[in-house]
């Protein structure tokens, strides 16, 4: 198998995730797009681990999974708090800190 086929699939997922982060304005959907990006990173880590015949790639992918779980937990708590305060999770309306 080619190394590039995995890397190109991950690049496609990453780009779709970038589009989602930029184009969505529902807070939960932005977090989902971030998950797409993190999974693309994990595919890259595991592919390079297999390429070099080392387990370290998998170990780092495991760490990324743990960090992603923490990120979703805190992110959804923040989205819930925004909803509770503004009755909406439209990210375009969260502009209090805009100068």
């Amino acid at each position: 198998m080619y190394l590039n086929q995995f890397l190109l699939l991950a690049a496609a997922l990453f780009s779709i995730g970038v589009y989602g982060v930029l184009a969505r304005r529902n807070g939960v959907l932005v977090l989902m797009s971030i998950e797409l990006i993190l999974n693309a990173v994990n595919i890259n880590l595991v592919a390079f681990g297999a390429y070099h015949g080392q387990v370290a790639g998998q170990v780092f992918a495991l760490f990324t999974v743990a960090v992603a779980a923490a990120e979703v937990g805190v992110g959804l708590a923040i989205v819930l708090l925004i909803y509770r305060n503004k009755r909406s999770i439209d990210l375009d309306q969260v502009a209090q800190m805009k100068g």
């Binding site: 080619y2 086929q5 969505r24 681990g49 387990v55």
Partner: protein, 165 residues
């Protein structure tokens, strides 16, 4: 060694994941987005199997499909998102975002094709879960402990943020 079955499986998974990922970022229904996200995450687990990373595939199914997607569904329900089709999920910079996404994709593709032209992955035997465990607890003990402290901090932070006073 002939990798034809792996290539067929990869092709099917890649098509499924790409189409589902596009639906995640374009669907008008929030719940459908979460379900398409499940398709993408399951495809990633399949890719891990193809790369002989069986432990990580199990972790992917347990943590991502089992826990994180459920968390997303709770987030959708608790914020009372409209369950049916709804407009206003996208902002008014979709064209710009599509341009940025295509630019990132083109740039990454060019760099990857240039850098890793026809390098091959030769998987002779699966990477055993025992090897992953040994690697974590021999070479990466301190990062492992840091990640566990990070998870604890995130847990406490989420509880503090979400509780009502």
């Amino acid at each position: 060694m002939n990798y034809l079955p792996q290539h067929i499986a990869f092709g099917l998974l890649a098509v499924m994941m790409t189409l589902s990922a596009i639906k995640v970022v374009t669907s008008k229904n929030v719940v459908h987005c979460a379900l398409y996200l499940v398709m993408v995450l399951a495809g990633v687990a399949g890719i891990y199997i193809l790369l002989a990373a069986e432990f990580l595939a199990a972790v992917q199914v347990l943590v991502y499909i089992g826990a994180i997607v459920v968390l997303f569904l709770f987030g959708i329900m608790l914020t009372r998102a409209p369950i049916g089709r709804s407009r206003g999920l996208d902002n008014d910079q979709r064209a710009l975002a599509a341009m940025v996404g295509l630019a990132v994709a083109g740039l990454l593709t060019a760099v990857l094709l240039d850098g890793f032209g026809d390098q091959r992955i030769n998987i002779t035997e699966p990477q055993r879960s025992a090897d992953v465990g040994l690697e974590i607890f021999q070479s990466y003990v301190i990062p492992f402990e840091v990640v566990s402290v990070l998870l604890l901090a995130a847990l406490i932070g989420a509880v503090v943020l979400a509780r009502r006073d």
